[in-house]
Amino acid sequence: MAVVQERLFGVRLTPTGEIRSSADFDERDAPMYQEINDPVDVLALFEDGTIKPQRFRWKGHVHKVEQVTGRWKTDKGAFRLRHFALMDEEANFFQLAYDERTSGWRLTRVWVE
């Protein structure tokens, strides 16, 4: 998966948040979520009262959503954040959040192996 991430993001992400080249990447680093919180462009269907993310673009790469593995909501004052756990077509795992107040999307987490 690290190879896939290197191809996707141009760098490898480490659990401590450092960006390393593949040369000094320690394969023994434990898998974990990387907190990101980047704004992203998302193509989503809003139908039958459900939001269905289809694709998103992050750092110039477009990821096709293969499966939404979980969805939940949290309150942000009078508004809601709608969260999505999802897998792209290359079996990378991400979490996105849709802010109902701003209608904006953020990539909140990436699973790093």
Binding site: M32, T69, G70, W72, G77, F79, M87, A91
Partner: protein, 418 residues
């Protein structure tokens, strides 16, 4: 209605090896109570989000090198001796191959809320006792389901379909037995206590399985050669009262599976006795500025929770744990009830300054308030409505309104630590 066949173990969701009976509605003429316990709830949610970790030991609570404790371990990790409240660093030693995940409390709270909504489709008599457990009173539902077991199966299926999670269900004539039954076979279990053989079913189980019997009582019982519930059943009520006072009478009833406590839906539950928050420092600290900043943040949270619940309190309790792992609590009672974070903070600071032992670093701080009354109970507004306390209350309410609209992080107290 006749009895339906199932396994001797009572685990009706797996193919039976030995066949005995479970019980229909006519066999349970009194109450029928279910206890639903989600299986490794937080870990199961994380596995659902990340199917790649489902076949690995998963530990939820933080990273392997952080100071906190395990919130939930999945069943694979439990095989290594990791459980809830195990320090994360110990868990990493016990199970070095585990995947550690930081808690997603927002997700867990939402799944918990949806779980209670599912239960509410069956009956409104639902008492949620924690984020992942609930009692459900299903008495009188024979018109809708052939048997209590059929109802429990439908409920389990609905939880699986809508949330993708498994739960274990216990069925019994009361809450005590239902809770014991739900933990009888986990995960994904379903067990019905035989209503005509309650004493026999209880007898071989250790006394510690009865609620309210903690380590100390268990030790006292062991000294009386009482190790199983059957041993406890052999003692007379007088003997138990002589040894344990009123608690002896309660134990006598528990040992016979007697529990009359009702399933109390939200809204019928007694008022909370206290409201509190605590914080563990990332590293032990002897910095008084950091202590006070933390007390300010904790007081702010306690005050907001009081106002949200429309409560005020009089007794402020400070809890602190020093670097020698000694935990102390000290309390002060105010002349009048309050929900003001300033009043709470002031009292907590005084307690810390007066009572903190010199030379010790602090590991944990906690602030709580008790002797609660309703907000409009026994409160007298200032005669002219402009005294300091009133101004402080109206400032707190203004901050509440901002947070209600824009979220908890929208406005913060200057100097608060977290």
């Amino acid at each position: 209605m006749g009895r339906v066949n199932t396994s001797r173990t009572g685990r009706v969701n797996t193919p039976a090896v030995d066949q005995v009976n479970t019980y229909g509605w006519p066999d349970m003429p009194g109450r029928v109570v279910m206890h639903v316990d989600m299986d490794a709830f937080f870990a199961a949610i994380e596995e659902k989000f990340l199917p790649v970790i489902a076949d690995r030991p998963v530990i939820v609570g933080g990273t392997a090198d952080s100071r906190g404790v395990v919130t939930t371990a999945n069943y694979l990790a439990r095989q290594y001796g990791v459980g809830s409240a195990t320090p994360l660093r110990t868990a990493a030693r016990l199970c070095p191959d585990a995947t550690f995940i930081t808690s997603s409390h927002g997700a867990y709270a939402d799944y918990s809320h949806r779980l209670v909504e599912i239960f509410g489709h069956f009956t409104p008599r639902v008492q949620q006792t924690s984020v992942d457990e609930a009692f459900i009173d299903v008495t009188g539902m024979q018109r809708h389901f052939d048997s209590p077991v059929a109802l429990a199966k439908a409920l389990k299926q609905r939880v699986r379909d809508e949330l993708g999670l498994t739960c274990s269900v216990g069925i019994a004539p009361n809450k005590l037995l239902a809770k014991m039954a739900s933990s009888h076979y986990k995960p994904d279990g379903l067990f019905q206590v035989p209503p005509d053989r309650v004493l026999e079913w209880l007898a071989p189980q250790p006394v510690s399985r009865l609620w309210g019997i903690g380590h100390r009582t268990e030790q006292s019982l062991h000294k009386m050669s009482v190790r199983t519930i059957g041993d406890l059943q052999a003692h007379s009520i007088r003997a138990l009262e002589r040894r344990f006072g009123k608690w002896g009478r309660v134990m006598y009833d528990l040992a016979r599976g007697t529990d009359r406590s009702p399933v109390r839906p939200e809204g019928e539950q007694p008022r909370e006795k206290s409201v509190g928050n605590e914080h563990t420092f990332a590293t032990d600290t002897d910095d008084p500025v950091l202590w006070h900043a933390t007390l300010l943040a904790l007081s702010d949270r306690v005050g907001r929770r009081l106002r949200q619940a429309e409560l005020r309190g009089r007794t402020i309790t400070l809890k602190y744990r020093t670097d020698d792992f000694k935990t102390r609590t000290h309390a002060v009672t105010l002349p009048a009830p309050t929900s003001s974070e300033q009043a709470i903070f002031g009292a907590a600071c005084r307690l810390l300054v007066e009572l903190h032992p010199a030379g010790r670093r602090v590991r944990l701080l906690g602030v709580s308030i008790s002797r609660l009354t309703a907000q409009d109970e026994g409160h007298q507004a200032g005669l002219f409505g402009n005294n300091r306390l009133e101004r402080s209350h109206s400032a707190s309410r203004a901050v509440d309104r901002i947070r209600d609209r824009f979220g908890g992080d929208a406005i913060r107290r200057l100097g608060a630590h977290f």
